[in-house]
């Protein structure tokens, strides 16, 4: 007989202020096989873990249930506790009574307590069915891929390379350096940005362990930690970067002028050009869209003057296949498109520019070739595209206050007779030396005015820009003409960040940037094992924070690579060889080709992702899922429906681990309420929930079933939504035949940021169930007679 210890956590009031934890403990003590029950303030603390270990020894416990927070949050903590006490880590189950009860039903303490009891009983019933699971580990080598060659990618590559790791640094542009290479000076120290960056760029190019691939794009990534397979396309540069001496003779003869993107279109470059004066590799590139056709018969002047014989019009894309063990994503940001705020006239008024253009103007001015005049009266408008519900960006971009202070100071110092204004809402000088820098700017006479202008006007004659703004401190409306208005545009995730996130199946947070695995304790990990993120791909941040994250990501990648082996996700499909007749239907439906039929079906563990989609297709019930077995889930379902009062309605929600379960946790954390008669069951993917299982659930007393699944683009498993759709259709057919409303079962795709959608969807489901009422017993009984063709 099993011996179970149940631990009810108070979470320092987070749970116990709402849920009657003692009542939950009393209830748990009456559950089958429960030997010890305790209610403790912080289960995750050393003291809490120690209590579990002592009880395991004293009472010979072989299973543990922790009724506390989300298993996604502290699950691994208690797995380690069990391992320390000599038990198999699989023998712990968490009842999520914080996110799913105390926080999401905080307005109804009594309901929250009742639900916490049921959640605890679900965990107890499930753990009774659990078996010890042996972990599978695999080898991991010392090759890393860094995607994106901005300062984050350069720093991460150098750290890894210095530690003896082979690094492939892939950059889509013809030079590394990223946005930092465009900046004038860095705040608050006013170092020249390219002067401190250029040596690092050169280091990266020359390091024997860094394999630099510029002008290259990632086409495809497959596999997992220790075994990522990457396909890269090196775009044709038409100039041999090893031969080119950057003498610039070719530029002199090139007849084509196009806007120079490095200077944000304020100056022109040739069709053959050096990407920037500090470009690494320091070689020219031909812009094939601008070049007169790459046909030497049409033009060919550059090749005529090239003494190094570096130009090759017949250059073709080069495809490279790599195998790497870890990946660091440093794909960076883009600036907010100021044209999306038409009231500020960017792109319409000649004298309205963006802050990044201002950076370039200051650099070019210092070189003695200003691309445009700046005038005497200059204004900065803060928070353009940040902190703005109208454009959907609620976040603060964090750098604009300080870069505006910097640009304003540089301009004021360059011409003390000029008047520089900064129009702000809140001035955030939070970093080291920032407040002092702000103070210096005030000392030299930069005018800070607290107010955000509604719109800008252009003086038709002088083309000066008129700013009318409320000084919110004096409540006076002030008006002034400016020669130049700089929009302090915020950061948005770059198209590369979005593309790579989709390719690598990395979830993004509500701001659109890549989501870290844990906001406090795993800030540079992604939920995908072996993939790390650093810099502005993860969220807006300045250079020191970016560099710190890059070094952190390199260190995290090394923790895995130095150890040499990695423990695999233990959730795998298992075939019952006696039941299987080798029909092969499962192999046809496996989205990752992990099943081979040799007489009977066989699973290839490193390939199997553990989605469980195959289970629904097996006509002989010969497939099960390890850790999420039929027995375990059915036990959980039974407990969720036990002791249901006659007038009571209960709805079961199957939540896929990556999106819906995480989303439900976020809903709880945000304290958004939804009806308490809903019970979440965590599954790797809702495609694992077979039609048979759903019908059984109805038969046992559920009044509604809802399945949540990751949206295709972010799902770790391909095509599961199709499987779910098919399964639901089957269940609905049977329900209709039994006279039960088919709308009682439904599903929806989610991503982790859809908090309102989750709450609305659940509310709607509850409404439908309320509309139809309880399912009468005789109709439920009809379901047991039905044979479902799976």
């Amino acid at each position: 007989m099993a011996k179970i210890g149940v631990y009810v956590c108070h979470c320092g009031g987070n749970i116990s202020d709402i849920v009657d934890v003692d009542e939950v403990a009393r209830f748990a003590s009456k559950l089958p096989d429960v030997t010890v029950v305790r209610s403790i303030s912080h289960m995750c603390s050393e003291n809490g873990q120690r209590t579990i270990m002592d009880d395991i020894e004293e009472h010979n416990l072989d299973r543990v249930v922790v009724a506390a927070c989300s298993p996604q949050f502290q699950g691994s903590t208690f797995e380690k506790t069990l391992a320390k006490a000599g038990l198999n880590p699989n023998m712990v189950e968490m009842a999520n009574i914080r996110e799913q009860s105390a926080w999401s039903h905080y307005g109804k303490p009594e309901d929250a307590t009742e639900k916490a009891k049921i959640l605890t009983s679900m965990a107890v019933e499930r753990i009774r069915k659990k078996e010890p699971v042996e972990r599978i580990s695999m080898k991991i080598g010392k090759n890393a891929l860094v995607i994106g060659g901005g300062i984050a990618g350069i720093q991460a590559s150098l750290d890894l390379a210095n530690a003896g790791i082979d690094v492939y640094l892939v950059e889509k542009e013809p030079t590394i350096g990223g946005h930092m290479a465009q900046l004038s000076r860095t705040f608050p120290t006013e170092d020249c940005a390219s002067c401190i960056l250029a040596p690092k760029m050169a280091d990266a190019a020359e390091h024997p362990n860094v394999h630099l691939m510029t002008y290259s794009e990632i086409l495809e990534v497959s596999g997992s930690i220790g075994n990522f397979k990457v396909r890269i396309m090196k775009k044709p540069r038409y100039v041999d970067e090893n031969k080119c001496t950057a003498c610039r003779e070719c530029e002199k003869v090139c007849p084509v002028n196009v806007p120079d993107e490095f200077n944000l279109g304020m100056t022109a470059r040739k069709a053959i050009y050096l990407p920037s004066s500090t470009a690494v590799p320091h070689a020219h590139v031909i812009d094939k869209d601008a070049c007169l056709g790459l046909n030497p018969l049409v033009c060919g002047r550059c090749a005529e003057v090239c003494e190094a014989d570096a130009i090759n019009y017949d250059d073709t894309p080069l495809y490279v296949n790599l195998e790497v063990d870890t990946i660091i994503v440093t794909t960076g940001f883009d600036i907010f498109n100021a044209e999306l705020k038409p009231q500020y006239g960017y792109g319409k008024y000649r004298n309205v520019i963006t802050s990044l253009q201002m950076e370039r103007i200051i650099v070019e001015m210092a070189e003695g070739r200003p691309p445009r005049p700046v005038g005497k009266d200059i204004a900065f408008i803060q928070c353009v595209g940040s902190r703005d519900a109208q454009v959907g960006n609620l976040y603060c971009s964090r750098i604009c206050c300080m870069y505006a202070t910097k640009l304003a100071s540089l301009l004021k110092r360059a011409d003390p007779s000029s008047e520089v204004y900064v129009f702000y809402t809140d001035l955030r000088a939070y970093g080291k030396g920032f407040e002092e820098y702000y103070r210096t700017a005030q000392e030299i006479g930069v005018n800070f005015i607290r107010g955000r202008p509604g719109e800008l006007m252009e003086d038709a004659e002088t083309k000066k820009v008129i700013i009318k703004v409320e000084d919110t401190l004096t409540r006076k409306i002030i008006e002034r003409k400016f020669d130049l208005v700089v929009l302090s545009v915020g950061m948005i995730p770059s198209p590369g960040t979005i593309k790579i996130a989709e390719m690598l199946k990395l979830p993004r947070s509500s701001d659109g940037f890549i989501k870290e695995a844990h906001p406090k304790f795993r800030p540079v990990d992604t939920p995908v094992e072996g993939i790390f993120v650093a810099g502005t791909a993860q969220g807006p941040k300045d250079i020191p924070d970016t560099v710190a994250q890059a070094s952190a990501a390199a260190a995290r990648a090394m923790t895995f690579m130095n150890k040499g082996e990695f423990e695999m996700n233990p959730i795998k499909a298992v075939i019952n060889g006696e039941m299987c007749n080798g029909c092969g239907i499962c192999a046809e439906h496996c989205p990752v080709d992990a099943i081979q039929v040799k007489g009977v079906a066989e699973i290839n563990p490193p390939l199997c992702k553990g989605c469980g989609a195959c289970i629904s297709f097996c006509p002989r019930d010969a497939i099960d899922l390890r850790i999420y077995s039929d027995d375990e889930i059915m036990a959980e379902i039974e407990a969720a429906l036990k002791d249901k009062r006659e007038d009571e309605k209960r709805i079961l929600i199957f939540a896929d681990d990556m999106c819906t379960y995480t989303l439900a946790d976020s809903v709880g954390t945000a304290k958004r309420e939804y009806p308490p008669n809903t019970y979440l069951i965590r599954v790797p993917s809702s495609s694992r929930v077979t039609p048979k299982m759903m019908l059984k659930t109805f038969e046992m007393g559920a009044d509604g079933i809802f399945l949540g699944e990751c949206e295709e683009a972010v799902s770790p498993y391909p095509n599961t939504l199709d499987v779910i759709d098919e399964n639901i259709k089957k269940v609905r057919t049977v329900l209709s035949r039994a006279g039960i409303a088919p709308e009682r079962v439904n599903y929806s795709p989610f991503v982790t940021v859809m908090l309102p959608k989750f709450v609305n969807t659940i509310n709607k489901m509850v409404e439908i169930v309320n509309k139809y009422g309880n399912i009468p017993e005789e109709k439920r009984r009809k379901l047991s007679a039905v044979e479902v063709m799976q």
């Binding site: 009231q343 928070c383 902190r387 703005d388 519900a389 109208q390 809402t425 809140d426 607290r450 107010g451 955000r452 202008p453 509604g454 719109e455 009318k468 703004v469 409320e470 000084d471 919110t472 409540r475 409306i477």
Partner: protein, 131 residues
């Protein structure tokens, strides 16, 4: 001389009342002032739109005696630009309602001069100035 305003329950209740009537979360306002210079009527106002919002935030009831809330044309310029997504026209409407609900007429229909006004202007003026 600057007068001290005592803040007590009365102020909190006023804020709650206006929030309830308008359905808007007034505490969200971050006082950036975008509404003020988006407002086509602000030149005629004794309080700026941002000023009205601030007064409600601190529960200053005297704001319902201001001219500004009647000058508001409910044109929604502030609403479409508010970076916090607050519908300010609902707030000014709520403030007007506080007076209108006392059955006070600000316009005697008989005394309205015959002018060529668009129908919508007459209707909105009637709605705004009569209880």
């Amino acid at each position: 001389m600057t007068k001290v305003m005592q803040i007590d329950e009365k102020n909190v209740n006023f804020l709650k009342k206006v929030e309830e009537l308008s359905g808007e979360k007034i505490t969200l306002c971050e006082q950036c002032g975008i509404c003020t210079t988006s407002c086509p009527m602000v030149d005629e106002m004794d309080f700026t739109p941002a000023g009205i919002m601030r007064a409600v935030q601190i529960g200053d009831e005297t704001i319902i005696e201001s001219k500004a809330i009647w000058v508001c044309a409910s044109c929604f310029s502030c609403t479409v630009r508010c970076p916090r997504g607050i519908d300010l026209s609902k707030v000014t409407e709520a403030l007007r309602q506080l007076t209108l609900r006392k059955n006070v007429d600000h316009i005697d229909l008989k005394e309205v001069k015959k002018e060529k006004l668009p129908a919508i202007a007459v209707v909105s003026a009637l709605r705004k100035f009569t209880g």
